[in-house]
Amino acid sequence: MRRTSFPLFVASSLILAVLASAETRPRYGGTLHVALRAAPASLEPSDHGVVDFASLIYDTLITVDQRGQSQPCLATSWQADPGNQRWRFLLRSGVTFSDGKPLTADGVAASLRIANASWKVFADAGGLIIERDSPSPYLPAELALPRNSIVKRESGKEVGTGPFVVSQWVLSKKLVLAAREDYWDGRPFLDSIEIDLGESFRDQVMALELGKTQLIEIAPVQARGAGIESLRVTKSAPAELMALVFAQPSGSAQEQQLRDAFALSIDRESLNKVVLQGGGDPAGGLLPNWMTGYEFLFPSQMDLTRAREARAEVPHADVWTLGYDPNDSVERVVAERVVLNAGEAGLRLQLAPGNTADVRLVRIPLASLDVHIALSELAAALGLPKPNYGSDSIDDLYGAENTLLQSHRVVPLLHSPHEWAIAGTVRNWTGTRDGNGRWRLPDIWVSPNKP
């Protein structure tokens, strides 16, 4: 039985046609062409527009992996004294900056002092000491933020220890990076990366279709639009928070009631369907549910009846101005719909493009996959008080986030993903779960064959 069936099977399985390329192992060489909307005015890692590619030029002491765990990078180990105010880090040996000079503890200390003026950072017995003025149990994850990249500043230039070195920099226009043969974590597969900056979403799509670019950003409204379906689109988990932030604290109980009415009046489901084409999630909390597991506890449904009741209990309500970025078409549409929703609850808002307004529409990317650092960074970006975590427990995290929301300063609207379109020749694209920065472009390689 075995002998008769086997040849038949073999015969039927003969490979007569060949369809695809023979490669799964990464291939060295080639240039990756990238287009970005950001047009940074410097290569400082703290510059908002540099976040996406900072990790190509600079390293941090520690990185945070896809599960939110701290992992070694330029620091190989770390230890906190009791109280978590004083930390000691051991640095990796044999690391050099892209100018060939060795990484030293003094150099790391100087870099971190510039990024964090209030920190006491100094070299000590082959290691590095960081002293904070308050307990900092989440310091390792904080050190993984791009702004804490280790940078050597000489003659007005920034030099890093990262996998690529800057070979051309045209201010806000173009950045060309070359692979470092001596990178401590292995030479990148790509020979170089060329990044065109300040490109509109529309121009990016055209460049990809014409084969001039291999990696572009996709705007939420584009992602499910005509012409995009033929592209290879990848997206992060819904991570960017879109929210409304009041410029001033709520001074009175009546003001709080009006803000409650405002939050209840907003139809987040429709915003998600219309603006994000269903690609995001209505947000009741600051951190997304996939990260904390408890965001669903914060209500995000519109309740017009309760909104009107709350509004009716306050005899007089001023007209609020609503600020947004006039150059961002998504923000404009959202702002218009928010004004309409609020109007149905009896609240009057007036659009005021720009940053000076009673309420501002903001979009804040998730800064870290460490939940505590992510919430702290969100609070800082929103102008809210620093969250107070009693312990590591999920109850305390929930409590800290709930306190921020109860401040009546912020109204979460949506969590939206970051989306990219990638040419078929680009392999090993992993992106990141939060979709913010930390591209793993050193692991990417370009195939000469189309899939």
Binding site: I15, A22, T24, P26, R67, Q69, G293, Y294, L369, D395
Partner: protein, 425 residues
């Protein structure tokens, strides 16, 4: 002998990292015996969190009759969620919180089985009277996902998990001894294990000294030897062990060629030079396949013995499959193959098969067995699947099996499997 300077050490707040820190840690559990019971190994004990949440709820409500609803918003299966629901209700009843319908209830307890990035998060919202809802939360770590079992086929590739580790695995070699022993080649160390009391237990860790940084996509190969225990080949580095335990290893810069094929044969049939800063063989072969001493740069090669000669299949960097028979270098074309192939002498069919990785750009990977009955390749087994990309596929030293190393996409952990071919089924 371990390399403390390269081995991260963390403090207590980073508990989950400890498994990758401790040499031979108990957490590095892997084991032939356990593998057979893999689904049970990965099962989670819900008892603790069930009691914890029930206790928190009971503290908030006090004894009485409550409407209790349980909703699953997590990746737990229906049966798991149902099991947890039943246990929660039993625990609550034991604490005096009895389930009842809404009309007769003193309040409502809505329990949600949710999850975050690292943890299962179970949330109870307790509504009593007109008071604001109270929230009680417990969390427990989410386990890593185990790879599922796969179906069988006439000629079957049998996959046996040997070892898993958070750190990169380059190759694994098993050698017969009493008790059985295993060598695991990592990026920075070579670790020896002994199978005792039903599990692999660490015996020794030997650090690999190297001056230059390793290339990305690091590769390395272990070869068992007769006059000493093993040789390890890494890009630009060669390591030779001593013959007796406790072992020592001497590593030094070397561009010596790596053995191809079943390397345990002394001398090995062919050797090839590896590019020390890349991830491929240069194409220079020693002593040579017949008269052929060069081929295209390649990622991997497999030997298929014929009656009067050995046919070599070369998986080229150019994406092509080349056949070298000692005289001609024929291109078989661009096949739907991955970059890694390995020859295995199973005794089935034509005796030798080539194991071939898949070429899909998906997170998982596959291995199929092929034969070359004439001039065409023929598939002779169904694909065996892997939860992550295969990073290495080497013929074992005796040629009877292959070692496949894969990196699980979900967790980033490395897994070493022994692949052997079983005739029929």
């Amino acid at each position: 002998m371990s390399g403390p300077s390269n081995r991260p050490v963390y403090n207590s707040p980073i508990l989950n990292m400890l498994s990758s820190v401790l040499p031979f840690s108990e957490s590095s559990i892997c084991l032939l015996a356990i593998l057979l019971l893999a689904p049970n190994v990965f099962a989670t004990d819900w008892g603790g969190p069930e009691q914890q949440l029930a206790s928190k709820i009971a503290s908030a409500t006090g004894p009485g009759a409550f409407a209790i609803n349980v909703v699953n918003r997590s990746s737990l299966s229906l049966s798991q969620a149902e099991e947890i629901r039943r246990a929660l209700l039993a625990n609550l009843s034991a604490l005096g919180v009895r389930p009842t319908n809404t009309d007769a209830a003193a309040g409502t307890v809505n329990i949600t089985l949710s999850e975050g990035l690292q943890n299962y998060v179970w949330v109870a919202e307790i509504h009593q009277g007109s008071n604001q809802a109270q929230v009680q939360i417990v969390s427990l770590p989410r386990p890593d996902v185990a790879s599922p079992d796969r179906a069988t086929f006439p000629m079957t590739i049998h996959k046996t998990l040997l070892w898993t580790d958070d750190s990169r695995i380059l190759d694994v070699a098993l050698f017969s001894a009493n008790p059985q022993q295993m060598i695991v080649l990592g990026a920075e160390s070579i670790n020896l294990y002994q199978f005792q009391q039903g599990r692999w237990q660490g015996q020794q860790s030997l650090s690999i000294s190297h001056v230059h940084p390793w290339p990305r996509d690091l590769r390395g190969r272990l070869v068992l030897r007769k006059d000493h225990l093993f040789d390890a080949y890494l890009p630009g580095v060669f390591c030779r062990s001593t013959a007796t335990t406790p072992l020592a290893v001497n590593c030094y810069d070397s561009d010596d060629p790596w053995p191809l094929g079943p390397a345990g044969i002394d001398p090995p049939p062919e050797n090839a030079f590896f590019a020390s800063t890349r991830n491929f063989f240069t194409g220079a072969i020693s002593p040579g396949i017949g008269k052929q001493t060069t081929a295209q740069p390649f990622y991997s090669a497999a030997m298929v013995p014929r009656e009067n000669y050995a046919l070599w299949v070369i998986d080229g960097v150019d994406g092509q499959i080349h056949l070298l028979d000692g005289i001609t270098n024929r291109t078989a074309g661009t096949l739907d193959w991955g970059s890694d192939i390995a020859g295995v002498h199973s005794g089935c069919g034509r005796g030798w098969q080539i194991l071939v990785t898949g070429s899909s750009d998906t997170p998982g990977d596959t291995v199929k067995a092929f034969e070359i009955p004439d001039r065409e390749f023929a598939v002779v087994s169904q694909a065996v699947e892997f939860a992550g990309r295969i990073t290495a596929l080497w013929t074992s030293s005796d040629g009877s099996s292959a070692i496949a190393i894969s990196q699980i996409a979900e967790t980033g952990r490395y897994e070493a499997d022994q692949l052997s071919i079983i005739c029929g089924q």
